[in-house]
């Protein structure tokens, strides 16, 4: 045989992670906090962002990048709530955003005029967990219509996230859903997860979310640029 073996032993995600590191550095230099919103489809990410833009869009100079498999529906909805460009990424079948797509999207945003960037990922509780986009943190959104065991079924997403938003709490009176059990399940896979309990429809719980976002932006503003 004349077969030659070339040892590689390199992580397949290495290129994405290099790009993500470059995105993170670019955002850091521009003083922008980036949050990557991840969830299953229909958890209310876009509704949460609509309400957040209404309340804080101008105050925190919020920019948004949305990812969808098809359509720009989410970007169109959000564009009605802000004067800023909402950059849509249509993945054309891919089940997640990657760092290259975010890097490209940043080229369309005015980072000098941005302090908070939301990246609304493709609705999918599996694949986006594996892709670093250069964000400050992942925020997993799940809703009370989804069942308390979501964190146990999709542990990687809850492990990779620093924050969790339990959304649609206005529906709780109509459902057999235990908030305590959902939180306990999430903390079994990620004990450090910080929770927010919101209804993007009624506004319940949103003040704590807004306070958190203001605090995130303030924290970056006090770090001198390197």
């Amino acid at each position: 045989m004349a077969v030659r073996t070339i040892e590689v032993r390199e992580r397949v995600m290495a290129r994405n992670d290099e790009l993500a590191a470059a995105v993170r550095e670019r955002l850091h230099r521009a003083g922008v906090v980036a949050l990557n919103l991840v969830s299953s489809p229909g958890s209310g990410k876009t509704s949460l962002l609509e309400r957040t833009l209404d309340q804080l869009g101008e105050e925190l100079d919020i920019a948004v990048v949305t990812g969808d498999v098809q359509t720009q529906n989410d970007a169109d909805r959000l564009a009605r709530r802000t004067t800023r460009l909402v950059q849509a990424v249509v993945t054309g079948g891919a089940c997640h955003l990657d760092a290259l797509q975010v890097e490209t999207a940043l080229g369309s945003l005015d980072l000098e005029r941005t302090r908070l960037l939301f990246i609304e990922n493709v609705g999918n509780l599996v694949c986006p967990a594996s892709w670093d986009l250069g964000e400050e943190a992942k925020v997993v959104v799940f809703s009370v219509t989804e069942g308390e065991d979501k964190p146990l079924k999709y542990p990687k997403m809850f492990q990779q996230s620093r924050y969790a938003v339990l959304n649609k709490i206005d529906l709780l009176p109509h459902l057999r859903f235990s908030v305590d059990e959902a939180v306990a399940n999430a903390r079994r896979v990620n004990p450090g997860l910080r929770f927010f309990f919101t209804s993007a429809v009624t506004g319940e719980g949103m003040d704590e979310w807004y306070g958190f976002l203001r605090q995130q932006v303030r924290a970056v503003a006090t770090i001198p640029a390197t």
Binding site: E10, V12, A129
Partner: protein
């Protein structure tokens, strides 16, 4: 679910490491996939077989080794370049 993305990246890595004339001579691609890597090995195998059957490749065989943990590595490339073994 994102096995095709991973398979495309594996092919890109192979193309980066080999000379263009070596790509049709690639006979196997060794991958290490952790059980918690979020990938279905059979689906990844299918995607890689499909991509490696088309130019610039000519039917290299993906060899997936499953490991504990969440590793996802391109372990090796095997090229049959007709040269005698050293």
């Amino acid at each position: 679910m994102h096995e095709l993305s991973i398979a495309l990246e594996v092919c890109r890595m192979a193309e980066e490491r080999l000379e263009p004339e070596e790509l049709p001579l690639l006979v196997s691609v060794g991958l290490e996939v952790g059980e918690e890597a979020g990938l279905e090995p059979a689906s990844l195998q299918f995607c890689l077989e499909a991509l490696l059957a088309a130019p610039p490749f000519s039917g290299a065989r993906p060899v997936i080794t499953q490991l504990p943990g969440d590793a996802l590595r391109l372990a090796y490339l095997e090229v049959d370049d007709g040269r005698p073994d050293d």
